[in-house]
Amino acid sequence: MDAGNLTLQYLLSGITKGSIYAVVAIGFNLIYSATGVLNFAQGEFVMLGGMVAVTLAHFVPLPVAVAGAVVIVALVGCLLEVLFFRKLRHHSVLHLIIITIGLSIVIQEAALHIWDEKVRSLPYFTGNEISSIKLFGAAISPQVIWVLATVAVTVAALHVFLKFTLPGRAMRACSSNPEAAMLAGINIPNMRTLSFGLSAALGALAGCVISPITMTHYESGAPLAIKGFAAAIVGGLGNPMAAVLGGLLVGVLEAFSVSRLPAAYNDVSAFAILLLVLFVRPHGLFGRPGGEAVREH
């Protein structure tokens, strides 16, 4: 394989992982916009999506298992909001963020009990681990195509939802000006629940499509939360579409740094980018100046 092909291979692997970070970053954004909370349990939705789908796939066809997992995890997301955040609204945002970290640990422990510490994975959606598609000389697993296509369609659908539907516009209105949104008769508590449900659903879907490639186990969510957080900040919080670019950037840089640096530095690249961006552009690479990357409350 020549250097050009190798580069392409790294690029593709980076984009694949990056697209998952992008989905997690979108989840961060949706919840942050609606509630002001950074939800560090975001990665657990991805893990739960994979785990639930693997279990369901024993009983039902794969597409049904994936759909079922998305719905179940979305409900879990809604439930978390109703049980914890709705009741604790009057606490400071910092408290709420710490609660999300606690929840993330609780969810991992629960997953360890419900399932076990074994690594699982969904079957390849089409083909198997050795089938590959040649693209510009690089060998790509068909599952990579599934990941990229699913993420692309999801992002497009989310864009249409936020931009052109009444509930989507209402969500944006809530993040733009909650008081004015209330005066327009928008049920803000329900919008917050919706943002958790939607983020959880997106995370679960990502967890399903990536499962055949990266495997799923009870601890696989936590690193995703960190990378997704980095992606959201790099893109600029408050803009779900910038999160996509942030995610891809983090993924690609990570893939190339893995090719150059010892494995121990694997996770360092995401933080290096994060810190660099925070120094140079505190509002994120694609965020508008004025909207700080991390809003003060």
């Binding site: 008081e179 327009a184 008769g185």
Partner: protein, 241 residues
């Protein structure tokens, strides 16, 4: 005339500080009622507690005879009551059109109503795809009024709609409010522009440090010695600011 809004002995405040000390007022269907008072009198706080943005501590609120005290703000619209808050509060990163459509969130005929509102405010029609935050102050006030009309309210609560506008624009806003009345919308108008308000209002209340100290027909209040002294700067240097 039927009473659309009735407020009895309302108390509200922030933290442990009470800023409205038992205010009573009423608005009949079809009226424009002014609520005047100096800075910090508690006018905005009173309006906020009417719609539930601020929790009333005591007292009663009836809309159309139904008690509404204690309901969350997002439910105030179901009493066909809309507050246009102080400082415009438009959705800065939504377009003018989206701002208006959100105003009609509960109105199934929102697209129809959008046309009606855009006909009323041609300035907004020219700018439907402009972001709300990039409108001029006067245009934002028009947008806030238009957005409120999207819900087809029976009772409109306006908090200082003339704030920060140039004299010509102030006139235009007062004209629009006057037109609302002709459309059958009842208005409770909080203002510092005493003359402008008393000219379009049927009745008015005057509030001072959390209490309503005067009420009467607008025409009478315009010539009331107390109003003249305190608010119109006549017969004394004490201004209302």
């Amino acid at each position: 005339m039927s009473m659309l809004l009735q407020v009895q002995n309302l108390r509200c405040g922030y933290g442990s500080l009470e800023v409205v000390h038992g205010a009573s007022l009423h608005v009949c269907a079809g009226e424009i009622v002014g609520l005047l008072g100096a800075n910090g009198a508690g006018k905005s706080s009173l309006l906020k507690s009417l719609v539930g943005l601020l929790h009333p501590w005591q007292g009663d609120i009836f809309v159309d005879g139904r008690p509404t005290r204690g309901q969350p703000a997002w439910r105030s619209l179901s009493n066909s009551m809309v507050l246009v808050p102080e400082g415009k509060m438009i959705f800065a990163d939504l377009t003018v059109r989206e701002n208006l459509l959100i105003g009609g969130y509960h109105n199934p005929d929102r697209l129809l109503q959008l046309e009606i509102v855009l006909d009323r405010f041609p300035r907004l029609r020219e700018r439907t795809s402009q972001l709300g935050g990039t409108l001029s102050g006067g245009e934002q006030q028009m947008l806030a009024l238009g957005r409120a009309l999207m819900a087809r309210p029976r009772l409109l609560l306006l908090d200082e709609p003339s704030l920060g506008l140039a004299p010509l624009m102030v006139q235009e806003v007062f004209r629009e409010i006057r037109k609302m009345k002709d459309l059958g919308v009842t208005v409770l108008l909080v203002e510092q522009n005493v003359v402008g308000t008393l000219q379009i209002a049927d009745r008015a209340y005057v509030m001072e440090t959390g209490e309503i100290i005067l009420e009467g027909l607008a025409a009478d209040l315009l010539h009331h010695p107390e109003v003249k002294r305190a608010y119109l700067g006549q017969g004394g240097k004490k201004s209302w600011e």
